[in-house]
């Protein structure tokens, strides 16, 4: 069996993107010995890619109110979001943004020195009346600037970073308490148990389960895989936000601005097909309408290319000077990733996975919760989660733009605060480490190190991604989902016997990729099984057999499906729990059809 050492901390945080860094500030400032483990240098976390801004009802340019923001978020979530958590997030937004400003975040400013705010899709004033300026940004580098400000703050308060460490598994004892994580130092291959009284997961999303994804390669759902293996259910995993225009075969995002400037979507016959699906808005219809239209064209044989698996985004009719001036970077993306100069030829595009709404179930305090003894939300002692890996649930069935950066600030802070509170009130001593839990991890790594005649990691990952894309994409079909469940379970069998040829210890990227695949497959199975089971359309989960009818507007079935999905790895089983429709201080935002 492999060797390991033990290191003790008050708190261990896995992930150093926005949520992890924000939680760490809270713990280190309170004087607790805090370790942050991260696969990549903190300022190379995927939060860097967030450009749009962070939502807060500061009202710097026009009247705004957290209650209006709350209404927009509940509506955006298609009423699947928990209204207590949503109220909490919207009320805390201003405080969190101003704190960030004090950490040195270089927000864009108005002439009077206040933070500049711009409008963003779905954010409205006066309960859905008209668009409101609510997004606070730092040029087009909001996420990047945010990470830098929070990393510097952590350095100041002596957070201890373990950079280029791959977390392996949760350590959970027979009482169900979480006592830390096992992790591998990539530089040496050494395995260490980080023994902690508080463990916070902030590991980001798992967008790499899909073949076409805007997510960076690091987004492999490590926290979700670890939680699932430790018996924690994953919540609402059927809900993934897709962007209509990712470059086919690459996933790189083509901004909506391209259609805003006059870009036209065409099928293999050259037809402007959006005229049939949205006669008024045409190519500027909402993301979900455009994505579904694109998939319908492809499924009905009107896709382009040798495999008829993409459509074209055409801007060849625009003045090249306009393209270069108004759409900077688009030409380079087309040339680099599609081999196409968009001034002369149309770009191949497909709907592309962008954001994960589900995750590890938590309450608004950032504590991980599971059903136990009749309580659907019993706290797992010592375990917290925040950011994209967590499901508080504020995004419900669909996330509003700029609410993701807010989520990681508010719930990163909240998880840190709750951990501080519990550390102050709890035992001074660490509980004993459960050997069985550690042995399971060592056995998993040992299996990978010694496997012969096994499956190729790259090919198995590709099989998973293609299965998810084909069977569980932006527009879902009953038969395809049913077949998809069988197929993804076959892929899961392959993942259990992956083999790596390189057995070296130092920066063995092949081993890391195999360990990441162990996590991705848990998310993929959870997604497929949860999606197959939910027989309605809601938010980002849209089924062909649950269409828009007078009885069930948008295909939503509140009578049977106004509930959160919980997927358990053991037995590949599903459970459900109620949506919390009761806010903390205001009236329930009553159910109605989600329409813009």
């Amino acid at each position: 069996m492999l060797n390991y050492t033990v290191r003790k901390f008050d708190a261990v945080i896995v992930g150093a993107g926005g949520a992890g860094l924000r939680a760490a500030i809270q713990l280190s400032e309170a004087g607790f010995k805090t370790a942050v483990l991260t696969k990549v240098f903190p300022t190379r976390s995927h939060t860097v890619a967030a450009q749009g801004g962070v939502a807060a009802s500061l009202g710097n340019s026009e009247e705004d109110h957290w209650h209006w923001h709350m209404y927009d978020t509940v509506k955006g979530s298609d009423w699947l979001g928990d209204q207590d958590a949503i109220e909490f997030m919207c009320r805390k937004a201003n405080e969190c943004v101003i704190e960030l400003e004090h950490y040195g975040m270089p927000f864009d400013r108005l002439d009077n020195g206040r933070i500049y705010q711009r409008p963003f899709g779905g954010h409205m004033s006066n309960f859905g009346e008209k668009p409101v300026r609510r997004s606070c940004a730092a040029a087009d580098r909001t996420g990047h600037a945010m990470l830098h400000a929070m990393y510097q703050r952590n350095v100041k308060v002596n957070t201890q970073f373990f950079v280029e460490w791959q977390a392996l598994d949760l350590v959970r004892d027979a009482d169900g308490d979480v006592l830390g994580v096992t992790a591998m130092d990539m530089e040496t291959g050494e395995i260490v148990v980080f023994h902690a009284k508080a463990t916070i997961f902030a590991t980001g999303g798992a967008g790499r389960i899909f073949y076409s994804s805007t997510n960076a390669f690091i987004n492999t759902g490590d926290g979700l895989g670890m939680a699932a293996r430790a018996g924690i259910p994953l919540e609402d995993m059927e809900f993934w936000q897709f962007h209509p225009t990712g470059v086919a075969g690459a996933g790189v995002l083509i901004t909506e601005g391209v259609r805003g400037e006059g870009g036209i979507l065409r099928n293999s016959a050259g037809e402007r097909f959006m005229e049939r699906y949205a006669p008024n808005a045409k190519d500027l219809a909402s993301r979900d309408v455009v994505s579904r239209a694109m998939v319908t064209e492809i499924n009905e044989g009107r896709g382009c290319g040798p495999n008829k698996d993409f459509v074209l985004l055409d801007i060849t009719h625009l003045d090249p000077a306009t393209i270069l001036k108004r759409l900077p970077g688009i030409r380079e993306i087309g040339i680099q990733f599609a081999g196409v100069d968009c001034i002369k030829e149309p770009l191949p595009v497909v709907p592309t996975c962008h954001y994960q709404m589900g995750g590890i179930p938590t309450n608004y305090r950032g504590e991980v919760v599971v059903p136990k003894d009749g309580d659907p939300n019993a706290v797992v002692r010592g375990f917290y989660a925040a950011g994209e890996c967590a499901c508080a649930s504020v995004h419900g069935a669909n996330r509003l733009g700029t609410n993701s950066l807010l989520d990681l600030l508010v719930f990163g802070k909240s998880a840190g605060e709750t951990a501080v509170e519990n550390l102050k009130a709890g035992n001074k001593a660490h509980k004993d480490l459960p050997q069985e839990s550690i042995d399971r991890t060592l056995a998993r790594v040992n299996r990978l190190n010694t496997q012969t005649g096994g499956a190729n990691v790259h090919e198995t990952r590709l099989a998973m991604q293609r299965t998810m894309q084909a069977h569980c994409g932006v527009f879902r079909f009953k038969d395809m989902l049913e077949q998809g469940v069988a197929k993804i379970l076959d892929v899961q069998e392959q993942v259990r016997r992956t083999e790596i040829k390189d057995k070296s210890q130092v920066f063995n990227t092949a081993r890391i990729e195999a360990l990441e695949l162990d996590n991705l497959i848990e998310v993929a199975v959870a997604t497929m099984v949860s999606a197959e089971a939910r027989k309605e359309s809601r938010g980002a989960h849209v089924r062909d057999d649950a269409p828009d009818t007078a009885e069930r507007p948008n295909g939503r079935d509140d009578q049977n499906w106004l509930k959160h999905t919980l997927w358990y790895r053991e037995g590949n089983r599903l459970d459900y729990k109620p949506v919390n429709l009761k806010p903390m201080s205001v009236e329930t935002i009553a159910l109605k059809k989600r329409a813009y």
């Binding site: 300022t43 190379r44 390669f217 690459a250 970077g329 070296s504």
Partner: protein, 82 residues
Amino acid sequence: MDEAKRARLGKLRWHCRRALLELDLVFQRFWEGTGDEIDEETEAALARLLEMEDHDLWDLVSGRRDTADPQLNGMVERLRRI
């Protein structure tokens, strides 16, 4: 390949895991093209490039900005051609 070089290249490969998908894809193609056939000069230039912030690096690789640094410029040109 000796152990020291294997370790250095492993580290470089890992440092090519970036925050932006665009860069991940460019570096994926780079490694697919070169494999482990990479000389010390390239190794050094790549290591320096990888120290950059992701947005700045993407600006260079996508051609939105240039660099006057001869060591970096050769590597950037190579990445642009991938």
